[in-house]
């Protein structure tokens, strides 16, 4: 079994007086694709924000590659090799596509075959065609591809995608799923939040369902596929 890359133990996070996470546990091994599932407002994005240091945890521990990171700042967590593709994409509107990518290029995981700007352009030929366009001239789908490419050129150990297919046309959604399947095939460790359960079952190894800030269920794709009661109870499907 591969090494544990990320271990979250007893995570507690709050916004002011409002506690959102109540002792959440999560483990991701190298090379795995793991999902966070649950209805809106259950704590999925907050979990990701705590892992990234954007909303620091009040309690519990987060260990990444054997190092405690729950007290680190977001930039140090990113340099340690976790890349977030955030909800809403948040690309730089006044930089070109190439500049958006080049500004983040680096080899944080020391990969032997690192992601480069040109390699991202081969993954998303559409971005290559728009290399000289500003971020604010891109369609929603192109912005999403750029946000994923920007994460990849940091050559992270772990990529986290928060609602990467939100607001995308069906064909573009398919491109994103295909891209994620290719990344998985290449051995990239991925944590993904999305609402398309059937596609996630095809893509991922394991799933974690969050309900009111706690883990309600964890299991494999086969287990989740076999129990549609879970879909109904926790995901509203």
């Amino acid at each position: 079994m591969s090494e544990v890359l990320l271990r979250v133990t007893g995570l507690e996070t709050a916004y002011g007086q409002s506690q959102v996470l109540f002792g959440l546990d999560l483990e991701i091994r190298a090379g795995e694709v793991v999902t966070l599932l649950g209805r809106n407002g259950m704590g999925k994005t907050t979990t990701v924000r705590s892992i990234m240091g954007l909303t620091p945890a009040r309690g519990g521990g987060i260990e990444f590659r054997g190092q405690r990171i729950e007290k680190l700042s977001p930039d140090r967590i990113a340099r340690a090799g976790i890349a977030l593709v955030p909800e809403g994409r948040q690309i730089f509107p006044n930089l070109t596509v190439r500049e958006n990518l080049a500004a983040f290029a680096g080899n944080r995981s020391g990969s032997a075959v690192p992601w480069t700007v040109d390699k991202v352009f081969r993954l998303f030929p559409r971005l290559a065609e728009r290399a000289g366009n500003m971020g604010n001239q891109l369609s929603g789908g192109e912005q999403q591809m750029l946000a994923i490419g920007r994460a990849l050129v940091t050559n992270p150990h772990l990529v986290i995608l928060d609602e990467a297919t939100e607001g995308l046309a069906p064909l573009i959604r398919e491109e994103i799923w295909t891209c994620l399947a290719e990344l998985r095939h290449a051995g990239q460790t991925i944590l993904v939040i999305d609402k398309y359960v059937e596609r996630l079952i095809q893509l991922a190894d394991r799933h974690t369902i969050i309900e009111r800030g706690r883990v309600a269920w964890q299991g494999t794709s086969a287990e989740l596929d076999a129990d549609h009661g879970l879909w109904h109870r926790y995901l509203g499907v």
Partner: protein, 251 residues
């Protein structure tokens, strides 16, 4: 033949060298739910912005309820009965659901000059606001600050605000964005409920919702309408499948 509620003739909008709206022709009939679908970047939001008046077209004509509104400012269009909800929720977050709706009713009813009186003190406004809250499924949340509502509830409130303006035509821009399956179902039910009283132009990427709700669907690709038809006609249109739907065609 019945006159359409909204008729768009040869609408054009350019941003520098980019043609965002390229001779759009569109008719929305009274009482229908008309969906507008198309790839990201096809120009759907730009078209909606021109219909609602937040963006001026370079050429073409928009006729609403028999009146040429092409040059009409946004607030006058709302008064005329054309209201828009946004991709991103736009509400007064610190005001209660009741006050948000009452303000929209007040703006429509023309009593907005009496702004020194508390909005809630105006019984008629409050009653109408409460009625709309019930209509959009927020009857139990009247006193909650709008900012404290769940995402899906905020979207329902936004639709309620559009209804409160007395709209004849609702422009709904991705109302299911960011929603889970059960929340999407709630919005589908809401639109289904509203269709008895108001015409809807719906921009949405949730194909299950589009194919369930729409009487007719128009497909926008590269700034132009490439097809308009019933859900069955659009489902089997080869060009639409190639440009947008791919294999995702709801039954």
């Amino acid at each position: 033949m019945t006159e359409p509620l909204l008729r768009v003739d040869d609408l054009e909008k350019r941003f520098g060298g980019i043609v965002a709206t390229d001779g759009v022709r569109l008719e929305v009939m009274r009482g229908e739910v008309h969906a507008l679908i198309g790839p990201n970047g096809a120009g759907k939001t730009t078209l909606i912005a021109q219909l609602s008046g937040s963006l001026a077209p370079d050429a073409g004509k928009i006729v609403f309820d028999g009146v040429d509104i092409t040059a009409m400012p946004q607030h006058s269009r709302v008064r005329a009965g054309l209201a828009r909800s946004y991709q991103i929720t736009s509400i007064f977050r610190k005001f209660s659901v009741r006050d948000n709706l009452a303000l929209a009713v007040q703006a429509r009813s023309g009593s907005s000059l009496s702004f020194w009186r508390p909005v809630a003190a105006e019984t008629q406004l409050a009653e109408e606001a409460e009625g709309i809250a019930v209509q959009v499924g927020l009857g139990a949340r009247l006193d909650a600050p709008a900012g404290s509502l769940a995402h899906a509830e905020q979207r329902c409130l936004e639709v309620g605000l559009a209804v409160a303006t007395g709209a004849k035509l609702l422009l709904l821009d991705e109302p299911m964005a960011g929603m889970g399956p059960d929340e999407s179902q709630r919005m589908v039910d809401l639109i289904e409920h509203l269709r008895a009283t108001v015409t809807v132009l719906l921009v949405e990427h949730d194909m299950d919702a589009v194919f369930r709700l729409a009487d007719r669907i128009s497909v926008l690709v590269s700034g132009a309408i490439v097809a308009t038809g019933t859900p069955d006609e659009i489902r089997t249109n080869a060009e639409v499948r190639r440009a947008y739907l791919g294999d995702e065609v709801p039954a």
